[in-house]
């Protein structure tokens, strides 16, 4: 029970703490406020564990988690170091993402560009997209076994739909004047796709990749909770079975950090690849 109470208490405490700081320095940027919220949470975490209000079994102290992190990095847990668990998870999502990009973008272009392709593929994608990937994981396990293939396939399917749909949307919303301009400069059909449609749709494609990676990462960790012998999800799950709470907390933090890093990295990529997006032109 007490483990349930802590996050609630922590959440309540933060909004109270921030206005006080706001009063003293009005020119605080949003980024600073977010940083302070995070710091407040950490201090609270430290305080409740240092005062021994909560047993380490329910919430280990930050120091304990940190020292466990060092242990995991050097010696490992369940025969693999943290790096190996992390590498297993990142390898799966990387493979699935690569496969999804290579297949979903051409299919998205076909859906957006061609009436027949839209008629065939649109209902298929719209049918499976709303199903939570974990609902069809058992079927994939029956078909493909419990090895790497079934996990990569599951994540691939989770990432594929957002990218294909976003690409199709981007292709459909290409400025018709730009198409006409390219045609009256002599562009062939293939040249239109390469020089006008693809770059026009790129901002949408990248948004699709961002959404897909978010969905893919949560699917991956959930899949590893169920069926895996390595990976961050597996690490958290097996640690929970032996009540090694510090590893559980550490695993959750690492999973959150990776998700955050992926999102930030893609936003940076978006700014770099499509600097014209959002500019008035």
């Amino acid at each position: 029970m007490s483990s349930l109470h802590v996050p609630v208490a922590a959440k309540r405490a933060t909004p109270l703490a921030t206005p006080n700081v706001n009063k003293s320095r009005r020119s605080l940027s949003t980024r600073w406020i977010s940083g302070l919220t995070l710091a407040t949470l950490l201090v609270l975490w430290w305080a409740v564990t240092a005062a021994e209000w909560i047993e380490p079994l329910f919430l280990p102290s930050p120091e304990a988690v940190l020292s466990k992190a060092w242990l995991l990095l050097t010696q490992g847990y369940m025969e693999s170091t943290l790096w190996q668990h992390l590498g297993a998870s990142l390898g799966r999502i990387g493979l699935a993402l690569g496969a999804a990009i290579v297949t979903a973008i051409p299919i998205g272009i076909a859906i957006g560009h061609n009436r027949i392709a839209r008629g065939i593929l649109d209902p298929l994608i719209e049918f499976y997209r709303p199903i939570p990937p974990l609902a069809y994981l058992p079927l994939i396990v029956i078909w493909c076994g419990i090895g790497e293939l079934s996990k990569v396939l599951l994540i691939y399917l989770a990432i594929f739909a957002p990218i294909a749909i976003a690409t199709a949307t981007g292709v459909r919303t290409v400025d018709p004047t730009k198409l006409r301009a390219a045609q009256s400069l002599g562009a062939t059909r293939a040249q239109l796709i390469r020089h006008v449609i693809l770059p026009s749709a790129l901002p949408d494609i990248l948004t699709g990749v961002r959404i897909g990676l978010g969905v893919g990462w949560s699917t991956l960790v959930a899949a590893e909770l169920i069926a895996a012998t390595s990976g961050l999800g597996f690490m958290v799950q097996s640690a929970a079975q032996f009540l090694v709470t510090d590893v559980v907390v550490l695993g959750i933090l690492v999973i959150a950090l990776i998700a955050f890093a992926l999102e930030m990295g893609l936003r940076a990529l978006q700014r770099k690849l499509v600097p014209w997006h959002g500019q008035s032109h």
Binding site: R180, S184, L185, W276, H281
Partner: protein, 264 residues
Amino acid sequence: MALLELERISAQYPGAAEPVLADITLSMGPQQLLVALGPSGSGKTSLLNLIAGFVAPSAGRITLDGEPVQGPGAERGVVFQDDALLPWQDVLANVAFGLELAGVPRATRERKAAEMLALVDLADFGKRRIWQLSGGQKQRVGLARALAADPRVLLMDEPFGALDAFTREQMQELLLQVWQRTTKPVFLITHDIEEAVFLATDLILLAPNPGQIVERLQLDFGQRYAAGESARAIKSDPRFIETREHVLSRVFSQRSAAVRQESA
């Protein structure tokens, strides 16, 4: 010999009761700057889209150099009203785009593009991004891009319609200079009467319901500008004002006739 010929062209939007253009016959010579002037609904945009090949006529025949027009093509360059430039490329690459599509090697096409940029007074703008340009500069890049592909005829779709009055006058003068230097035949549509009278060697007046040519005039104000006379002197010349008022009354009488017809 005529460069561009339209024979008994009609056009109709799918599902519309009235045609937008009815029985248009028009020929354009290689030395001309032909302006189609008309109020909205007179079908001037449809006329340009037909020549550009963006839409097909419901009846009639369009030929360029005796060859029938089928679909858009590089021999008919188009300058659009709102900029149709590609923001993922810089200015120079935009101007060179038509040559790139034609497979011209990079060095050659960039040299040609730089020449065209100099022609529209944007010599130092090659490395700029599209969103860093003003409205007038974008239209100049659009003009340079169309010219770089070396079309047989240049089609301009209300190219200065979205610009402020000062920029519009500058652009009109720039167009006359470019037209004189490149000797490229130009087909331009506009609803600005003064612009039409100032630019045109040949002016056709279009009337709506359905779109048809009601008058064709031969003018020389643009040539006088090209010969060195100042734009202000030409536009305040009594003959210019007289022509402008005549055109205005023609367009206006057609419109009021149409209004009377509708209310009757």
